[in-house]
Symmetry: C2
Subunit: 155 residues, 2 copies
C-alpha cells in the first residue's frame, strides 16, 4: 500500500481536526471535493484508515493507572489464556511475542491497589506460569502515527 503526498496531507488534516467534513477538507487541501472523497474511500478500503472511533481516555473513566504485564505461558495453553484475558475489561491490549511463550498485555486500573486486583484476576488462571508487571509513570509519547505517515508519504 503506497501513499502519496495528498494522502499524507489528508491524514494529517484529519488527525488535527477530526470532525472536519469532506468539503472543508477539500478547501484546505486545495483540491476538488470528489478527489478528497475518492482518496478517503480508497484509504478506508485499503485498510490504511481502520476507522474513526472515538479515542476514549481510560483515566477520564476512572482508570488512571496503566501497566504492562509480561506473561509466561505454559506450553499449549495459549488459546485458553487468550480467551481468559479477553474476558477481563481492564486488559486493553494483548500481544504474543517472541521469546519463551510470552505475552505482553496492557492493563488499566482504578488505583495502585486496584491494580493488584486486576493482576490477580489476570494471572489467576491455570496456563499462566509467571507474570512481571511494569507500572507506567509517564507517557512522554502517547500513541502517535503522524510522523510515520509523513515518512511513508515521502515527507
Amino acid at each position: 500500500m503506497a501513499i502519496d503526498h495528498l494522502d499524507g496531507a489528508l491524514l494529517e488534516l484529519l488527525a488535527e481536526e477530526p470532525r472536519i467534513g469532506v468539503l472543508e477538507a477539500s478547501r484546505r487541501l486545495g483540491v476538488a471535493r470528489g478527489t478528497v472523497q475518492a482518496r478517503l474511500d480508497r484509504l478506508q478500503s485499503n485498510g490504511v484508515i481502520r476507522g474513526f472511533g472515538p479515542e476514549v481516555d481510560p483515566a477520564a473513566l476512572g482508570y488512571p493507572v496503566t501497566a504492562f504485564a509480561t506473561l509466561e505461558i505454559k506450553q499449549g495453553q495459549g488459546n485458553d489464556v487468550r480467551a481468559h484475558l479477553t474476558t477481563v475489561p481492564e486488559v486493553l491490549e494483548l500481544h504474543t511475542t517472541t521469546g519463551h511463550g510470552d505475552m505482553l498485555c496492557r492493563l488499566v486500573a482504578r488505583s495502585n491497589a486496584d491494580l493488584q486486583r486486576v493482576i490477580d484476576r489476570v494471572v489467576g488462571f491455570d496456563g499462566i506460569v509467571r507474570a512481571s508487571t511494569a507500572i507506567v509513570m509517564e507517557n512522554p509519547v502517547p500513541l502517535r502515527i503522524i510522523p510515520l505517515v509523513k515518512q511513508a508519504s515521502g515527507d
Copy 2:
C-alpha cells in the same frame, strides 16, 4: 468522571459506526437530538473522548512488524532520551515505567531486517545502557476500550 448508561451506549454506538451523525445517533438511542448533542459535548470537555482521529494501520502503510523494546536508561538522562525517541517516526509510543530507570516503547518496522535498523537508531544514543526487544507475533486483543466503558457505565 462518572459515566451513565446513556453515555456508555453513545460511546459504543460511536465505536461501531464512527461516521454517524448526531441526528442518526439520537434516533438509534431513542433520545432527543439535543440530548445526544449535550452528552457528546460533555464527554469531550470532560476529556473522556479525546478525539476522533483516524485510526491508521501501520501495516497498511508498509510497517507490518511491531515490537516492544524495554530500555534501561542512565541516571539523569531521561529527558534527553525522551527527546531522542520523539524524533524517531517508528517509535509509536513511549512510556516510563517503574523499575530500574526503564522505558517501554512500541516500535514498527518494514521487516524484521528493517527492525534492526530501527533498533540501532533507537539505542544509538548515549543515555541508553541496554535494550531488550520483543517482537510481536500476534495481536489477539487489539487496543480496545468498549469492555471498560461498559464496566464504567454500569454494564
